[in-house]
Amino acid sequence: MPTDNDNHVDRRTVLKYAGTAGAVGLAGCSGNGGDGGDGSDGSDGSDGSDGSDGSDGSDGGDDAFEVGVTMGQMDSGLDPQDHAETNTEIIVGQLYEGLLDRDKEGGIIAGLANEWERTDDGSVRFMLRDGLTFHNGDDVTPEDVRYSIRRIVFEDVGIVSPQSNDLGSVSEVTTGDGQVTVSFEGYNPIAFQLFATNGPVMQQSWVEENGGDYINRNANGTGPFQLSEYDSGNEVLYEPFEDYWDGAPEVDELRMSASSESSTRVNQLLAEETDIVTNVPPNEVSRVEGSDVASINSVASARIIFLQMRYDVEPFSSQQFRQAMNHAVDVESIIESVLNGFGNITAQPTLDGHVGHNPDIDPYPYDPEEAERLVEESGHAGVEITLETPIGRYLRDVEIAQAAANQIDSLSNVSCEVEQREFSSLVQDVTAPNIEDRPHFNLLGWGNAEFDGSQTLTPLLSSSGALTVLENDELDGLLEDAEATEDPDERVDILQEANQLAHDLAPWVFMHQQFSVYGVSDDISWEPRADEFIDPDTATQQ
């Protein structure tokens, strides 16, 4: 965020004050012309120190490094264990940390634990760093870690945590001298992946002494930033935690705010009111790139977009028909024309870079003639289908669905139309307890925060998956084997085989890997992460 020693901002500040002084003058014109003289007072405002506006970084009075982040939505409270969505995770993730963490590419790195190992009985043990403290100055103890994990998993500890699914197979947590051991119901091959994404640590006494309302408006974590001001639904201000175990961040003040309108976010960036804006739509990219104050920074995310086809209803019960749909959609052209190139074509449920990705699988080639042939062979020529899509949930979801449906509709023997649905309504059907109540054909996106193929394959394609549209014994068997295999290499082989099978079964039209597209001020240097989390503590001043 620009500061007062920035010439460009000086100009802006002067203009702003002149303009506002003009507004005062204009208001004064209505009754007393003499009030127009207030305009001359605009010079008072050029002294940034006069303004008590702490939220506008451009008015700051020194060369402090201030960073503003504007997202699409604010948090749902500051309790790090009582939410399950990205925006809140970004806001509370500055304040709280787990035992392990991830680097920008998604690899597992140390967090509050600097060593971790699997014990002989399949449990996992974490050794805590020395000298860890919470923001209130109290030491982090193994009991705090135990309490935090148990608070997520066991309802009787305090809350029904929406994150319980992620750590659901934890059976018990025990503590030792500077260490914590976590046991699971059976062997858990992705225990470390789970703890690299989940399990923010809270102080037991602080939680127990304060009610839910307080915990949702205050914070006491171990993260690189500590809370300085919380204005629910409006903005959150942070200051660096000087005793942070990895050294206090370079950023002197961090401000997180939100605007649901993407154009408003881009306008804020171009007016130099913020430094990082999320989800810049493709049609706004050129405006950012064409400016002299900001640029676009994008990264392939851990989110895959696909068109689900339910295996138990015609015509999607035919594997040939499902494969035909994959041949009918020109994903490359959709990425190019609808997403301005911000996407990678996919061929399997597991994304490149995730555990179990099979590099030998190629995407279905765009081949309308082959698609028509397969439709004929399936016996469903002349069928009419409807593609249901959420509105505004994923980057250009409606436009993507319309493009895909048009291409399917252009086949000589299939008619396809789009039905737009509000996400909350669609998701109620997608998550219906019985598969019979789920949509036949719909667009969906899935974020795999653990970077492990099983976390996509199991919930979405195994017979018992919460969102499944497929029932296949062979795939179920492979996934069960992957769950029980202790040898990591062997597990990768099994998952790769499962991905090949999923490709062949074609329960989805494999679309693309979504990109996270950020607008970033030229005043800072910051690289985005693959897991959609934003880490302003890694930003540096340009």
């Binding site: 303009g19 209505s30 006069d50 749902s76 399950a84 929406p162 699914n165 949702n216 705010s257 309108e261």
Partner: protein, 330 residues
């Protein structure tokens, strides 16, 4: 009927309207597709987790139990707990209300300051270029969607010329007042406040301004043609005195009525403007609540908006009855 009885009667009617609002808003929850559980639970949450969340939120209770509980809580001043924000709804809603009132009042001030002089000038210089200009401006103001106007104002005055801020609230008006009345008054806070509020106030107030301009113009034309004005002119009173002391005064009675009613509309109608300018008021809260299926917060917000509207209406009725006792007898 005395004025007091009239006020009591209107208040009782108002309570009935508020109860209706509460009931309709509560019923909306059950006819709108989408469950709040999906806003809380991850997509792949098990059915057990979903049921546990439903039980925690009280959503597993029969409809009439939920309704009666809600009414009972409301009477005790408890609007419930937002399972999305993790906070009391009362805290959330009343935390946002000042920003919305501030914006509504600022929009009204912008509108009134421009509209009344414009309406008077337009009426006194009827069929002259200034009248055509004012008519054109009014027509533009009435027919321009405020979200589009907001976006254009941002692009021109905030992004292109960097004069005002694109969005947000900056400082609240209370801080401005404190900075001006302190031992060492500073202008910086006032200027910062203006940098944030000017554009949304214009965007929200333009329609209002156009409406009042038209109302003032027609009212003034009506008054200026009346006998008492002719008599005043015959007596040789100055034109300025006739226009502003006599004619405008009478014109303002219906204008004030509309002003009062429109203030309620502004509080409820700022939803789009608040979204465009990321203004942290009730409107933004309503939009967030709808997107999140945060029913307790949405219900609380709509009840406050509805109650404000009813309250302003009652106030206007009572003031009108005070000014014109015939209304009470009607």
């Amino acid at each position: 009927m005395s004025l007091g009885r009239f006020a009591v009667k209107r208040s009782l009617q108002g309570i009935g309207v508020v109860w209706g609002v509460v009931t309709v808003v509560f019923a909306l929850r059950f006819v709108t597709p989408g469950s709040p559980i999906n806003a809380v639970a991850p997509l792949d949450a098990s059915q057990e987790t979903r049921q546990a969340i439903a039980a925690e939120l009280g959503l597993d209770q029969p409809l009439y139990v939920q309704y009666l509980q809600y009414i009972f809580d409301l009477l005790r001043g408890d609007m419930g707990f937002s399972y999305i924000k993790g906070q009391d709804v009362v805290t959330l809603v009343f935390g946002r209300l000042p920003a919305t009132i501030e914006l509504a009042v600022a929009a009204s001030v912008v509108a009134i300051i421009l509209a009344i002089p414009l309406g008077v000038i337009s009426a006194t210089r009827r069929n002259e270029p200034v009248d055509y200009g004012a008519t054109l401006l009014s027509l533009g103001g009435i027919s321009t969607p405020n979200f589009w106007l907001g976006i254009m104002l941002i692009l021109v005055f905030a992004v292109e010329f960097n004069i005002f801020n694109t969005s947000g609230r900056g400082v609240d008006v209370g801080d401005v007042a404190l900075s001006l009345v302190g031992p060492e008054p500073v202008l910086g806070t006032l200027l910062t406040w203006l940098a944030y509020i000017t554009l949304p106030a214009i965007a929200l107030g333009t329609y209002f301004m156009a409406l009042i301009t038209r109302l003032t113009r027609s009212g003034m034309l009506d008054e200026l043609s009346k006998g008492y004005v002719q008599a005043a002119r015959a007596k040789g009173l100055p034109q300025t005195l006739i226009r502003y002391k006599h004619a405008l005064r009478n014109t303002l009675i219906p204008v004030i009525t509309v002003l009062g009613l429109q203030l309620g509309t502004l509080i409820g109608g700022a939803v789009i403007t608040e979204a465009v300018f990321s203004w942290p008021g009730l409107g933004s809260l309503v939009i967030d609540s709808i997107n999140d299926r945060d029913w307790p917060t949405l219900q609380g917000s709509l009840i406050v908006i509805g109650t404000s509207f009813v309250f302003v209406n009652i106030l206007v009725d009572v003031v009108y009855a005070y000014l014109d006792p015939e209304v009470v007898n009607d």
